[in-house]
Amino acid sequence: MLKYLFAKNEDIPEGSSAVYWGFSSIVWFVIGTGLGSFNAAKLAFPDFVTGNEFFAFGHMRQVHVHAVIFGWISMAFGMAMMYITPALGNTKLWSEKLGLWNATLWNVGLSLGLVLLWAGVSSGREYSDFPWVIDLYIALFMAVPLCINVWMTVINRRTQGIYTTNWFFASAVFMVAIVFLTGNLPEFFHLTGLTEAYLTWWFAHNVLGLWITPVAAAIAYYTIPKVTGNPLYSHRIGHLHFWSVVVFYSTPAAHHLMSAPLPEWLKSFASVEGVLILVPAIAFVSNILLTMTGKWHMFVENLEIRFTITGVLMAIPLNMQGGFQQTRAINWYIHGTGWIVAHAHLALLGFSTFLEAAAVYLGLQMILKRKLYSLTLGNIHFWLLLIGFTTYWVSMTIAGLIQGAGKIYEVPYIDVVIAEHPYMIARWLGGTMVFTGNVLWLYNMWMTARQGTVIPVGRMPHELAYER
């Protein structure tokens, strides 16, 4: 793959950059969940690996979070954009070479950022923990090249219309650069106090709201009609979804700070908007589930559909939980507890991961023109991911409720720690299942590239029978 970095664009095989992004994302997923499992073990077994500051939880947590968000999730998005954007425009990717360089710069920048975090060089701002130099690097050398490639591909399309998926892709790649440049203003200009707090959570909220959620949804808009062969149920519901994300998802950052001395009108505004995030969620879920009409058997039979629909179904509890937990009454109880950690994993490891995994499974098979090496390994991956995630989510939600009760009723801290210990062990078990599944996935995709059954031109992977 690296040999194409210095080749002429026209000499680079179509789909090369997507493959690079795709395999990078899986490797980051293995690393990110491995770190997650390690961190969970430290919470479950406090004597596990002590005495070295580099393996302290405070150093490792940010590395896990950023490896997963900017390694796994964002590189899987890059992979999806590299093959879906041109496919929907009946054209080629604007520049395979830029795509390859972009992936390289992404891997280098992320590795550098994670090493700095690991060494303790951090902004100390949750989710925007990277120091400002890395933030600028991400905006200029990771987000902007991706934005240019996606936009130029859309502009050079051979269709008159632009399909729903590409509205989301094009908007999100533009917005993620804005989010990085604006959300990190406190670091660039040493803003402190409430301004820093608000912009920190404006950043964290919009990385989710204008990057992860819309791009993950956009993938489902492609995967389901493409694999089932059904038309998308409604173009007009797509409009409702897109514009409600823009209006309702971009605004409620203040609902992360309901107990802070922000102006109360801002919190009231954000809180209403927070519940209204259910509008895009309802539009999205109904559009995708209605597109499945007549093809529900594929939910059982087809791996990509199973991953996608599972992710889509998780959007329901995700947005119900998200909408209500940010209201004053509920936030008072669960703020700062494991409940929020569970919710964050429902968004990133539940909803979005299942959609991205489907995109990577489907994309790598289509580009490599190789059928998945082992359906059994694929199925094991799915179930390890689902059971592992569910174990994690349920245990952390219960632990959060215990912590909330402890907080409100002023239960001694150590008693709360003892009460939630079993749930910390369950969390570690769940996270480790996810990590194990991802190791198998990496092997499965590597073997797919090397030994997968060749897919004839013009055929889809699911049209061929599995051979093992």
């Binding site: 879906i84 496919a87 929907l88 425009g89 009946n90 269709t159 008159q160 219309g161 399909y163 729903t164 492609y222 009609p225 493409k226 038309p231 998308l232 149920y233 409604s234 173009h235 007009r236 519901i237 797509g238 409009h239 409702l240 514009w243 409600s244 209006v247 309702f248 605004t251 309901m258 001395p261 922000l262 102006p263 109360e264 009108w265 801002l266 919190k267 009231s268 505004f269 954000a270 809180s271 209403v272 908007e273 927070g274 519940v275 209204l276 259910l278 509008v279 309802i282 539009a283 109904s286 209605l290 909408g323 209500f324 209201t327 004053r328 009454a329 936030n331 008072w332």
Partner: protein, 233 residues
């Protein structure tokens, strides 16, 4: 593109525009993907309306009332009574204060009776028109004797100044002017009490209205939902 307002809830585009859109819709393959033109199912419309109503009801500012200084004024007064001073155990003293404070301040009749009977004038900051449920707020924001000892001098200083204690919030160990921005009072100063209906809500109504008008216009520019494309290419 000009709007056609003949049948605004069916389509805002002219017949020619719709015809052009329909031809493109049926002819074009977007990477092998096609789209239908179905409307939002009626149950989903109801679900969205329920969501909007719920969003406003469940986020009423009242659900998140902050502890204002007025709810602790009675606690502070009781701390100075011989009965409480004589108690050695802080927990028992706090329990007694909570018990004695039940119903005080939010019971208009009791306050009025107190005023008329001349037993005790209403405390500074006590408003006969107060709509706040002090008992509920106290239950929501319990304090210990140690907490009270910290805020007591601050509350007493405010009482001495004659300000409305409902406009002051207790934040940790400090009693500070609340950050609400209500209507202007007769003296030209803003009211700092948590309002039933605040500015954030007004902005939300504007936002929501503009959103639905905007999306309706976008959707109604499409061919009417009674037309469905034939995907035979």
């Amino acid at each position: 593109m000009a709007f056609d307002f003949d049948k605004p809830l069916r389509t805002l585009s002219s017949a020619e525009e719709n015809k052009k859109d329909q031809m493109l819709w049926e002819a074009e393959s977007l990477g092998g993907i096609t789209e239908d033109n179905n409307r939002l199912p009626v149950p989903v419309v109801w679900l969205l309306m329920l969501t909007v109503v719920t969003a406003f009801l469940i986020t009423l500012p009242l659900w998140g009332q902050r502890p204002n200084a007025a709810i602790y004024a009675e606690y502070v007064r009781l701390m100075n009574t011989p009965e409480i001073i004589a108690m050695q155990d802080d927990n028992a003293a706090m329990a007694k204060i909570v018990q004695l404070s039940k119903g005080v301040h939010n019971d208009k009749h009791q306050i009025e009776a107190k005023s008329k009977g001349g037993v005790e004038a209403p405390h500074v900051g006590e408003s006969l028109e107060s709509e706040m449920d002090y008992d509920a707020l106290r239950a929501r924001h319990p304090v210990t004797m140690d907490d009270l000892r910290i805020v007591k001098p601050q509350i007493e200083a405010l009482m001495a100044k004659g300000v409305d204690l409902e406009e002051y919030t207790v934040v940790g160990d400090r009693v500070v002017i609340a950050n609400f921005e209500g209507n202007y009072k007769a003296n030209g100063v803003r009211e700092r009490k948590q309002p039933w209906w605040d500015k954030g809500y007004t902005i939300d109504i504007f936002y929501l209205t503009m959103f639905f008008i905007g999306v309706t216009m976008v959707i109604k520019c499409l061919p009417p939902s009674s037309w469905q494309p034939k995907h035979d290419h």
